[in-house]
Symmetry: C2
Amino acid sequence: MSTCIIGKGLPRVDAVPKVTGAAQYTVDLKMPGLLVGKILRSPHAHARIKSIDTSAAEQLKGVLAVITAKDVPDGLFSFYQWLADKNILCGETVRYIGDEVAAVAAVDDDTAEEAVSLIKVDYELLPAVFDVHAALEPGAPLVHDDKESNSTWSVERLFGDPDKALAECDFVVEGTYVTHAQAHTCLETSNCIAKWDEKDRLTIWTNAQAPHTQRQEVARILGIPRRNVRVINSYMGGGFGSKLVMDVKLPIASVLSRLTGRPVRIVNTRSEEFTTGKTRYPYTMSLKTGAMKDGRIVVRDLTVIGDAGAYHDKGPATINFSSMMFGTLYDVPNIRFQAQMVYTNKEMGTAFRGFGNPQLTFATESQLDELAHKMGIDPLDLRLRNSNCSMGTTSCGAEICGCAMTECMEAASEAIEWSQKKARPSDGTLRGVGLANMVHTGGGGRFYGYNSAEAFIKLSDEGTVTLITSALDMGQGSHTTMAQIAAEELGVSLSDINVLSHDTELTPYDLGSWGSRATFMDGNAVQAAARDARAALAEAAAEMLEADPADIVIEESKVWVKGSSEKHDLFEIVDHAVNAHGIPISGTGQFVDKLPEGYTIPTAFAKNIPCFSFGTQAVEVEVDPETGQVRVLRVVAAHETGTTINQTMSEGQIEGSIAQGIGFALMERLVRQEGKVQNDRFLDYKIPNIGDMPEIETILVESVGTKGPFGAKGIGEPGLVPTAPAIANAVFDAIGVRFHELPITRDMVLEALKETR
Amino acid sequence: MSTCIIGKGLPRVDAVPKVTGAAQYTVDLKMPGLLVGKILRSPHAHARIKSIDTSAAEQLKGVLAVITAKDVPDGLFSFYQWLADKNILCGETVRYIGDEVAAVAAVDDDTAEEAVSLIKVDYELLPAVFDVHAALEPGAPLVHDDKESNSTWSVERLFGDPDKALAECDFVVEGTYVTHAQAHTCLETSNCIAKWDEKDRLTIWTNAQAPHTQRQEVARILGIPRRNVRVINSYMGGGFGSKLVMDVKLPIASVLSRLTGRPVRIVNTRSEEFTTGKTRYPYTMSLKTGAMKDGRIVVRDLTVIGDAGAYHDKGPATINFSSMMFGTLYDVPNIRFQAQMVYTNKEMGTAFRGFGNPQLTFATESQLDELAHKMGIDPLDLRLRNSNCSMGTTSCGAEICGCAMTECMEAASEAIEWSQKKARPSDGTLRGVGLANMVHTGGGGRFYGYNSAEAFIKLSDEGTVTLITSALDMGQGSHTTMAQIAAEELGVSLSDINVLSHDTELTPYDLGSWGSRATFMDGNAVQAAARDARAALAEAAAEMLEADPADIVIEESKVWVKGSSEKHDLFEIVDHAVNAHGIPISGTGQFVDKLPEGYTIPTAFAKNIPCFSFGTQAVEVEVDPETGQVRVLRVVAAHETGTTINQTMSEGQIEGSIAQGIGFALMERLVRQEGKVQNDRFLDYKIPNIGDMPEIETILVESVGTKGPFGAKGIGEPGLVPTAPAIANAVFDAIGVRFHELPITRDMVLEALKETR
């Protein structure tokens, strides 16, 4: 393999437009007649709508449409239609503070806001429930009164005999771990423009992580053929999972546009983004881990209660995914995983970078340290003894076809100076080190029974390359990754690749960017397309140079016959082929990844995952005894990339993940009183800023055995997964206190320090 | 072959947006900061520029840039770079009234116009020449003083021994035929927007018949890499050849945009369109035809003097093409074709529907009637005796692989009631009938040694089809044709096809829409791509229906196994393939048409043409003895289509051509005084209106032997070619006067009637 481009820390292909401000986001788009849409939201956590009076709003000058539930298609929707539980607009019941009740379209922001304020809704308050445990009590208020209970979905997985193993093993630790609602905090809030054209087709400009499936969702909920819906993505200012599932503002804007005959744009305010933009699912996890004297972990038993919020959304999928990761990080022979999602009268959860895994790993990797402590052995040593590098199939069925877990642990512990730091005599400062392992999918999942991607390539008459891919760039840089893969395979330079994407009309059907799948799935399709185009190129060159196509070498935009010293510009070859002989040069590529033979969606479990990505983070913290603040001094992040496609971007993904992981561990939590979010702005909802960030050393561990493009795996999510438990373990090392709840706030630390003194 | 779609008169795919006004032409585009560009043009036919003072224009408020020759890249350009003879802006010499001298960019139309009027140019007048014969005189003023003469390009073709044949044959007729400058009169005038982006790439929105080659021309003249130029076509309001070659306003707008950092739009006024928008090349043709007693035409000898105007443009290519058609209509063993293009100080000519063939055919088919008259035989009979249906190679090398010439003559003469009309005793009215044959390319030409096209197809998850083709729709309907070909081949309905085109970044390299090539070339590529996608579809269906892919039938969006009565919706198959198995369905297709083995561009001559399209038009006219007006009462147009793809559109193309042919024959001519166009608006330059149009009967004659998609040939140009000679022949039949010059005006007819009385 030539290594001109793969692995290099090349600048992003969209760097210049983003830096200069030329990049157009949905809010930057201009079109004639564009109206402003605003949503009237419920001020109550649970209430019955007795009546709505829109007359004053309708009479306001500059208002073109006011809609309520009676104006939108009936029926319920959800990401999975068999779990449908949400209206476009609430007709009878509102279920959380922020639930959509009515919407207006007006000529400008002020008019739209005034119109929303003029809509009078008469509510009858209903008892609300905010806590999952209270929600499970008999007689608790039902969030959905057509359902028997607030328990919405449960998963149970059993391998081996956990009860027997727990009874027989030498050491058992148990504990309950709690995580809270974290917000995605994308710099670009959720938004869309909807517009019907003269052919009665609906075009939606939005910032969707999955334009093709959102197109399906919009069509389904509006009851129109999918063919009549086109979704076009603008540049995106972050997704992190929040833009995977169709937001209800898409059908609302579509109905407003339909009624007014004009395009309608709806944009979340920052407050709306915090209070209705969905969150990471809060988990309450009761976990037992049992081990033998030799350190072998033989049993794990976990019960999860997940807080769904008011509607399903991605809850069932999230706990499903948690169950797969639970059975994969270490090869534990006896496993029980029981989980349920529970409705509460709060903002709903959704997909969020890590997808149920950061919560889970906080519990499992915290408890592993507790086990080591109880057994009196070094937590690193305990992990090394259980390293999952068998390259076989775990008891839970996960097929570990490539794994650098041991290398990651060794690299991370060496770089943090584990032995010295653990042995360090106290100098009076409250410093400590901790580490945690992680596993995550490195290439999406076969959750539909398959996962697939397709790409097209055409060369211009000058050898520049148009690459049509569905790899969705939400800011993570997948356009750059795809361009690098195509450039490397074709033997051209990165600047020769133009990526066309972000339009369901143009790009092949694709599940979107989530689950760390773009590099693996779309990258494979891009590589196949480039290989196809390269063959056409070699054939053209062979004809011109009177050689065998197999002897043609193409590298760094030069073409030559193997063994010959005469190098031709690629331009010359393509110009000759296209302009002298009229031979167009193009390629197509597909990648289809299916469940193994004999497995179906319900039975596949961990076989859903085409490749796993392991990693280890080691952190050093210092606790301020006066303020209780935990300062993360240093993070060493050793992660498997398979093959690194772009070093700078892989490091960027990991560093960004760690920032979000530090927020999850120490700062971020939506605080509610009676269901009402109290911190709906960045001044109150604190995410790590530059001053909070530690020194980060990222170690990209290349490994083999992955079927990704050039052997690459996805790296978009893993960096977030082990950060919180590594910090919790380091805090324990520093002050001897074990925290079972995130975020570990200053108040909690001060309180704990008080108790230990 | 299923015949669900091919041949049907289906509505155009762009009918609704065009009818409702939703279609966006370049003048409809809006973008932030868009400036208005205007060009200062020479008021003199020939002059030296002594100085230019732009200071007053520069100081005008709202003017952002004023440019002259010193601000634009040096050097000359032309469609064929080896014929380069034109500056972007004239620095030293202006060569016709309208030549580009300076340009401005300003905030609005009024300011731009005022700025142009404030530019002071000091000219030194030079002697000018307007007539080709005067231009060839020794000592004539040189239009380009760096050249030795005004004769710019000559072609000579010789087959057999014309002198010997002329001496030995039984009948010879000779005459000189003259045609004048006809304007294209597109409803949308020439225009463009140029804009540089943050990556230093230039995007041009325009109405180009050949975006890919215009992109090459823009890059060449600006001295920038082709990769940095993108051409995007909007909807087009007609081309007819006028929008094939890059207009100089593209580099002018590009330079203005570069200087101002803002997008700049330049739009021809109607007057500019008439006076600088280029014309059909005027020809003066001295022709001899010789025949034997049995009617066999044995020799033809033609000398053409073409009027290039001030610059080359498509002149050389036009006379080259005339020479190919001259040797192809009938298989004449002895042929001499001598032609030259001559510079004059007038607006230049360019490509125009028929490309040198309407002029030529006016001469040859008029003279054939003169020959018949001299020999005392019926003109139809003479033509039938010489019908070129040998299906072999003519003396000039044209390979006639499919020909319905005799059928066309028979169909047209029967429909016009030829025998009755010719035999009709005079009832006092001056009525007459005439006919003429034609041949034209039915699929472009291999003028670069090749001709080729490529197309891509992808199916959505619902079975709708995205078709990426370079077939350029300038209003002739090629998007509809391409959609029909794809729909037929795939077995889906026309409304399932979405055509993506008109963007050099997106579409494969392609020579553009001209020479009746889109249906033949692009259509073949589209059919191949659809065939490829259909195979993928059949494979998916076979898997689902547990059958052999070869047994899968796909028709009218239904899929079934041969012999089975159970029909499935195509939707079901695709949904299953994509959503259950993740198998993307797509296809690519290429069509490469090369010169026959052993021929090169200079030697290929008529072998440049991949397929010929024959046709016959028969007309009936009535001459008003009081006014001299020739009224065309009826036209029967029998034309070969190979296979008709869309009956309504084929008829539309022929009817539109006939309108332009009637204009060419009877009305249209740019009238000049000392080089200045006198009729630069539609009130003065008369084209046929609805009242001028005759009853038209179009007979589409299907024929075999063509390698086009489903056997189709192009039909965009043929309908114009024989109209003028058929009318001239009918006028002779009506009043016994032979006109050798077009247009046949009322004054000319009155004068002739006076003489005959």
